[in-house]
């Protein structure tokens, strides 16, 4: 390692560790002056990364309070620094971190609220994708539908939680949140997607969640639909009802289908 590289290594090591003592061999000036200057860099790094997380997780911030959030962000920072300058990606592991953060044991659903928020954040920052129009879809011969694979926008995400995470999140978007009607013992499924520049999150039936997840995994329409029906038939999996027509109408009206490919086609109809 060159002298210049070891200079950067020492600087970086002290920053990662959040060292209160400046690596004084690197800087000129009185010890007091070096300590004061070092504090600025150390605080800048810690503060700016906490703010990046606060931007990505505004509801988690509200739920735990600003001071507590900052403390959690600093703990997270000790485990994970950003790997790139696209810092909007930094919150990727924050939900997993909260799942295991002993200070929030009493809020077991907090990790899933963070997961939902990060899905919204990723949807916001995701790529531009063109949706198929209803005319495109009408052009598919009906006999091809059963073995068709529907490609969905990458800005769509489906989540499943043991907690009423969508309700908790939605209530927090209200001016005067009221949690009295939320039963913390009931799990929920949610979908998050971007349409016309806005990001939406809605609570969905377990069967629809399974249907969407199956399509995302590349299953053909019949198979995805079958999986959704299995959920309906099994109360342990969520029960409820499923309508294939209703599900397709939702995908079309939310402009979520980017292509439809059948085994007989070499290319999708959107290409």
């Amino acid at each position: 390692m060159s002298e210049m590289q070891s200079w950067h290594q020492d600087f970086a090591d002290a920053l990662v560790g959040g060292s209160r003592d400046a690596p004084s061999r690197l800087f000129g000036g009185t010890p007091e002056r070096v300590a004061a200057g070092w504090r600025v860099y150390r605080n800048n790094v810690a503060h700016s990364l906490a703010e990046v997380l606060r931007d990505s997780f505004p509801t988690v911030d509200t739920l735990v309070g600003s001071d507590f959030f900052r403390q959690a962000a600093h703990e997270f920072q000790k485990q994970a620094m950003p790997v790139s300058a696209m810092v909007w990606e930094y919150g990727h592991g924050f939900a997993d971190f909260l799942d295991h953060y002993s200070e929030v044991k009493s809020l077991p659903w907090l990790g899933d609220v963070a997961r939902l928020e990060f899905a919204r954040w990723q949807s916001y920052h995701g790529p531009a994708e063109d949706a198929l129009t209803p005319e495109h879809l009408q052009a598919i011969p009906p006999e091809r539908f059963s073995d068709a694979r529907f490609k969905l926008k990458t800005t769509l995400s489906v989540m499943s939680s043991d907690y009423p995470v969508v309700s908790i999140w939605m209530e927090h978007q209200e001016d005067s949140p009221d949690f009295s009607a939320i039963n913390l013992d009931v799990g929920e499924r949610g979908m998050t997607y971007r349409q016309a520049g806005s990001v939406y999150t809605r609570k969905i039936e377990p069967s629809l969640a399974r249907f969407l997840t199956a399509l995302q995994a590349g299953e053909v329409l019949t198979c995805a639909s079958q999986q959704a029906m299995e959920v309906c038939g099994d109360p342990d999996l969520g029960g409820g009802a499923f309508s294939l027509v209703g599900a397709l109408a939702l995908l079309v009206s939310s402009e979520l289908i980017t292509d439809v490919v059948t085994d007989a086609m070499e290319k999708g109809i959107g290409e």
Binding site: M4, Q9, F11, A36, W38, V45, A128
Partner: protein
């Protein structure tokens, strides 16, 4: 880029910018807020930038390329920056005399480097590479300093002058940074302002700082969260009077106020610039 006033475009001001007809003549955005790994970046902030780009000349300001790190530049970052520059065709592209990344960790701050022959060579290589990939000149901004690296062998201005000579890059001259660094290191800001070659400057930055006092040690911190200080306006006047009107940006990144405050700061810069434009080319 017009030799007039611009502001850093923040999302809370997009609508106001779209309707504005005041002193703000151009805008600047931070590259990293718009960069993505996707070939076709999307989302509301891109839709806004496309719209504002029709209305204002644009400057793309990078804050995370880490040109000062003695390791190869992040190829993904360089690719993302190139995509952005290709899409938006900005009038100006700039980065910092700093480092922010080392061995796979990104620190999200502009950290200082010692000004040595070796660090100059490293920095020049990285600027050369960036300009080659982007296919255009970039501007490099002088940093705010809170500590003085021990091994420094030359002044910041000598480092920057040699950098521009070897690579053909220009300077983004931040007057507030000059003031903050000079106060923090006990050097003479006015002397720096008087010595910088005007012909090298492609853009000027103005911003506000905060004052931190602990145990009788006072440090100025470049927070971009306050009005431009009177002393910094004086230095700016002094610079423009000597070198002529230059594109001048009001930066405000923390505790961002309402649009009118930024417009009024841009108006103050515009007054200095207008006066100097009126004097014509005699000063250039």
């Amino acid at each position: 880029m017009p030799a007039s006033a611009g502001i850093g475009a923040k999302s809370q001001h997009f609508e106001a910018l779209a309707c504005a007809s005041g002193p703000v003549k151009w805008i600047e955005v931070h590259a990293e807020n718009y960069m993505s790994r996707d070939v076709k970046p999307g989302g509301p902030h891109h839709s806004w930038l496309e719209r504002l780009r029709e209305q204002y000349p644009l400057s793309i300001h990078g804050v995370g390329l880490s040109l000062g790190s003695p390791e190869p530049l992040d190829p993904d970052h360089l690719d993302g920056l190139k995509r952005l520059v290709d899409i938006y065709q900005p009038a100006l592209v700039s980065e910092h005399l700093a480092w922010s990344r080392w061995q796979g960790k990104f620190f999200n701050d502009l950290l200082p480097i010692p000004y040595t022959a070796a660090s100059l060579e490293n920095f020049c290589d990285h600027v050369d590479q960036t300009q080659e990939v982007l296919g255009r000149q970039i501007l490099i901004e002088n940093p705010s300093a809170y500590l003085s690296p021990k091994d420094t062998e030359m002044s910041e201005l000598d480092f920057l002058s040699e950098l521009t000579r070897r690579t053909g890059c220009g300077l983004l001259f931040d007057v507030n940074n000059v003031y903050v660094s000079a106060k923090n290191s006990g050097t003479d800001a006015a002397a720096y302002i008087d010595a910088v070659p005007g012909a090298l400057i492609g853009e000027v930055h103005l911003a506000g700082f905060t004052r931190d006092v602990t145990d009788t040690i006072e440090i100025l911190i470049d927070t971009h969260g306050a009005l431009v200080h009177d002393d910094v306006w004086q230095l700016y006047n002094r610079l423009i009077e000597r070198v002529g009107a230059l594109p001048t940006l009001i930066e405000w990144d923390t505790d961002v106020p309402e649009f009118g405050v930024l417009e009024s700061e841009a108006g103050l810069a515009e007054r200095v610039l207008g006066f100097n434009r009126m004097l014509g080319s005699a000063h250039v």
